[in-house]
Every structure is written in C-alpha cells, then in structure tokens.
Subunit: 343 residues, 2 copies
C-alpha cells in the first residue's frame, strides 16, 4: 500500500496559503503567499487529508497578530490556521478509513498530513458538510456555550445579539428563542434583518446602518436588556451598556468592528454601567468547553432535525487562492450565516 | 416626657448641609448650602438622633448626579445623603433607648428624626464608633463581598488592589492575605505603601505616582494577576488588563479617578484582554448583600479581635460645615484608611 501512495501522491501537488507579514489594519494580499509542494507520503499512524471546506472566522484576524492570546500567533511563513472539513484519502492509521470525513484545524491548504490528533469524524449523511463548520461546528458551539454558560438566559428575559445574521449570532438568537427569551438582533442591512426575523423567528432586528441603535433598542427592549451577546464591540457595545438591567450578563465573544483598527480601539466608555447595574462583561473561548462538545452537538443536531433551529452557510467556491477576498467579506459585513470556502 | 423634649429641643438648632446644584466636575462650595432649623419633636414610634460621625465615601460623588443608578440621586434642596453613627437622644419607640448608638444613613446634618427603619445598633464597647463606618461598616462589607463573592480568591493566587490604603482597599488586601493570596497594592504615596506593607502585611505596594505601574506589576506579580479589585478605574485598570491571567476576575468597585471627569471618562481600551483570557469584569453593590451583613460583620469582628485584621480611621474634627473639604480629601488621595467627619 505504501508504495502505491507514493506513486500517486508524488504526482499531485499541495497548494498552501502562508502568512508572510503581520497585517497592519486590514490584511492585504501582499501579507500572504501561495506555495506548491509535492504531497507527503503518510507514515505509520498518519493519514493524508484532502481539504473540502475551509472555515472563515473573524478570530483569524487575531491569529495573524504577534500578540499573547488564547492560541499562539500563526508563525511567519506558516500555513494560515483555519478550521477545515477534510476527507481521508490515504490512511496508515487504523482509526481512520479512506473516504471518511473529519473536522480539524488543517489550515488554508488543499491537502494535509495528520497523525489524527484533534480530528473529529463527521457524517455527511446527518448534515451537509459545511454545517459542521457552522451550526454543528465551532461557531454553533461558540453560540451554545457563550449564551448558555455565560449568558445564562431565563425565560422572559430580553436578549440582544449583534452580528445577528452571522454564523454565531444566528444561532445565539435561535437558542435564545428556544430558552424563552425576547430576542432582538442587530445587523448591517435590511436583508439580514428580514432573514433573522422572518426565517429564524427573532422578535425584532435593528439595522444599525440606518437606525439609531439607542432609540431602536428602547423601542424593541421595553423591559431593558438582560443579556447582550457581543460579537462586534465598538459603539454598539457602548450604546447597549446604557440600557442594561440589573444583574445583566454580557458574554464577550468578539469585536469584529475593532479587529482591523490600526490605532486605539473604541473602548467602552460606559463601562461603569456594569458597576451600578451589578452586571458583568465576561470573555469566553469555545476551546475551554471541548469536553462538552459532544453533548452540545447532539442537542443542536436534535433541534436542527426538529426544525427548532435553522442553519445557513454561504459557500464560496473559490479554492485556496480565494482565501483573502473571502475572509474580507466578514469584515465588510457581506456574509449571511456561516461563511465557508470550498476548495 | 413629650413635653420635656419639646421644651429642650425647641431651643436647640439642627445644622444641615443641602445639595443645591448638581456639580460639574469637582464639587464646589457653591453647590451646597447650610440651613439651620429647630429640632423636631419625636412623635409616637419616632426617635431623635444626634449625629456623632459622618462617613465620607467616593460614591457620594455619584449620588450628586442626576443619573440612573443603584440609588436615586440626592434631590436638589435635600440634605446630602451620608452614612452616619448617631446617638439616640430622645425616643418614642420602644425598640430604641436613649443613649444607644446606631448606624444609619441620616445624612450630613447634626440631628435627625427617624422611625427606626434601616438603623442598626452598634456597641462602642466592642469597637470604636468610627470603625462601624469603616471596617465593620459599609466599606468593610464592600471589601468582604466584593472580594469573596466576585473575586472568589483561592490560596496561591495573586490579588492586586488599587486604592490600597483606602477604607475598602486596606480591608481587601488583608482579606486576601487571610485567604492565602499574594497581595500587591497600588497607592499614591510612599507613606501609604509603607503602611499597607509594614502594618497590614501586603506583599508589595506600588506607588503609581513615581513608579511605572506596568513594569512594577511585572516585578511584583511574576505569576500574573488572578484578581484585580478595582477602586480607581482609569489608566491603572487598562494597565492591569494587559497582565491578567486566564479566568481572572475583576470586581468593579469604583473608579475614583474618573468621578469628577467632565468629558468622556478613560475607557478601558484593553478590555478585549477579557476575551482572550476568559476573564470577567463584574460590578457589585454592597446593598445587594444586606441579608448577609450580620454574618460578615461577625466574621470580621472576630478577625479584628484576633489581630488578623487591622483597621484605621482618619477622623476629621470639623463638624457639618467641613463636609465638602473633607470629602475632597478622598479625590485628592489625602486619606489613609476610612475617612470620617466628626460632628
């Protein structure tokens, strides 16, 4: 078998997107390079994977910075880190069979070699493969643990979620409805707002580009805000802080409005509202809940099957070389649902 | 008896400090006026109180603003709100005897009439009366609940406390030592730093006026910061945020550096450190723990008696008319320990 692999795979080339410079502000194409190399041959215990789908996430911007964070920065010259759905195309590891699909963090490349560590098998029969990068993957789990563990919603409470039509936000809002909350989204265009209200069942959605967010929140949250799931940071966080209730919870998931800032970020000048309202602003990272992923995915898969939870993926069929322009769609607010690159 | 009261008390005058304007920035003497009026006569169920000590607290600055908060603002023309230790000098209420001392919120005035609601008897035999405004009063309770409930210290962790020599900070640091933490204070002069290290047993104290706080924290907190008890806000909060550990807790007690700001306050531009470190910034108000005051005071009184906890009050013998200049000592960093005005 090993001989056959070598024969075939040595003729195939892997295409990789590598981080070459640390971006200043918005990442530029000159910050990346593309390399081609012959496919490696799996040794005992290893498998060769063909990437089908690559996850695009706001967090990637942070991984490009040379800063202390929850994961080390991507090294210069390294393949850009990314969540992936891959197919096993050769296996010298008895735990993986050729033809199986796995979720992993194999990066922005067409093929990868793995010893199997950190891979999770996924079934294309139960859900479409891109869903395993979204609602049944890291973004769905982020919504699940951030809302349920940090937000701790109670029936009758009011939940506001920004980035409402994004991969995390759309799940947060639907989970809020399942928990019996009033759910108000904030998004950047009419189509997104219509989508979360009409398709996903949010109670209201504010288009922050045309509405005054403070005034609209007062209209749609007549009993104040008990939970604000923050995906965006910036002015919107500051505005929400003026309308939180006593004992409010703000799960801090991201701050996409600030990730490309070159100077100081927009800091929450109304943070003392946390004091007078005995409220909390709490960061979380989905990786801390890895021991509970299985149970959470099972629960969400059930809700999906029952129609209580809907999912949407926006799949861009551009291949590895389309990585950067596809990533930038996130920062330009051009995606609805989970943004995925098809290789 | 009623006749006798009237006869005596009608000859005595009450002196009151009233809020007349909402201060802009630092409160001015023109924001207050002093009024004199005849003492009222207690009716059935009422008691007449003579104020002995008035508590001076940073929170008073917030009460002067016309803003939604955890207590309604002091109304214009009303006696300025303040915590007090008073003596019962006439009683038509069987629950209070003449000569007893009570803690209450009787305001900046020499005498007050009360129906007894919200008063707590205190014993001058067990502790000096000003201690009931400090370590065995609201500031001690603030330290106790903020540190133990929000900060949740574990032995071996590193606790940083700002306003270290203030009424709250000095108790926070000592409670941290009792809980087995490494305790690093931040204060504004050498005397205060010497006091908390040499007298109270803090492991170190940073004089923020002469040392670079970031560098000094790196020296004194070699294992990072697990709990930051924030009394001051501003630049120091921002600096601490860059050195917090995973799962750090920041009980948000106050922001004295910002209370007199006339423009935007110094917002924590490093707040995203909460995200990558899964840390929380959580406000609290001591009034929420009123059902547990008794147990907490008993525990702290025991530590005081055992010498595990030390207390200090700075008593200014100025009377009612000295209210404002004494209050301003807090904002000028001129007090060590609990600042109290003697009437």
């Amino acid at each position: 078998m090993l001989y056959l692999y070598s024969l075939i795979f040595n003729l195939m080339m892997n295409l990789q997107c590598r981080l070459m410079h640390r971006p200043v502000g918005t990442p530029q194409s000159s910050d990346f390079s593309f390399t081609e190399e012959a496919l490696p041959t799996p040794k005992a215990g290893e498998i060769l994977l063909k990437t089908h789908y690559i996850s695009l996430d706001p967090a990637m911007r942070g991984w490009m910075n040379d800063a202390k964070s929850y994961l080390p920065p991507v090294g210069l010259g390294e393949v850009m880190r990314a969540g992936t759905i891959s197919e096993v195309i050769a296996s010298e590891n008895p735990q993986f069979a050729v033809g199986e699909f796995v979720f992993g963090s194999e990066g922005v490349q067409a093929y990868s070699l793995s010893a199997g560590k950190g891979l999770m098998k996924v079934s294309p029969a139960l859900a479409s493969l891109p869903t395993y990068l979204g609602t049944l993957g890291i973004t769905g789990l982020t919504a699940y643990f951030g809302l349920l563990r940090i937000g701790a919603p109670k029936a009758g409470e009011t939940l506001v979620v920004s980035g409402a039509a994004g991969a995390v936000g759309m799940v947060v809002g639907q989970l809020g409805k399942i928990m019996g909350c009033r759910v108000v989204g904030i998004a950047g265009d009419k189509e997104k707002c219509d989508y979360v209200v009409n398709e996903l069942g949010f109670d209201a959605c504010i288009n922050y580009k045309v509405e005054k967010v403070g005034k609209a929140l007062r209209t749609h949250c007549p009993s104040g805000i008990d939970i604000y799931f923050d995906n965006v940071g910036g002015e919107i966080l500051d505005t929400v802080l003026t309308q939180i209730n006593k004992f409010a919870r703000i799960p801090l998931c991201g701050a996409i409005s600030q990730y490309n800032a070159t100077g100081d970020i927009h800091a929450p000048k109304n943070y003392l509202s946390l004091l007078v309202n005995r409220a909390k602003l709490e960061g979380f990272i989905v990786l801390d809940y890895v021991q509970d992923y299985g149970k959470a995915i099972q629960e969400m898969a059930t809700w999906l099957a029952e129609g209580k939870l809907k999912t949407r993926e926006q799949v861009i069929s551009g291949g590895i070389r389309a990585f950067l322009p596809t990533l930038l769609m996130l920062f330009e607010g051009k995606n609805t649902g989970k943004l995925v690159l098809e290789v």
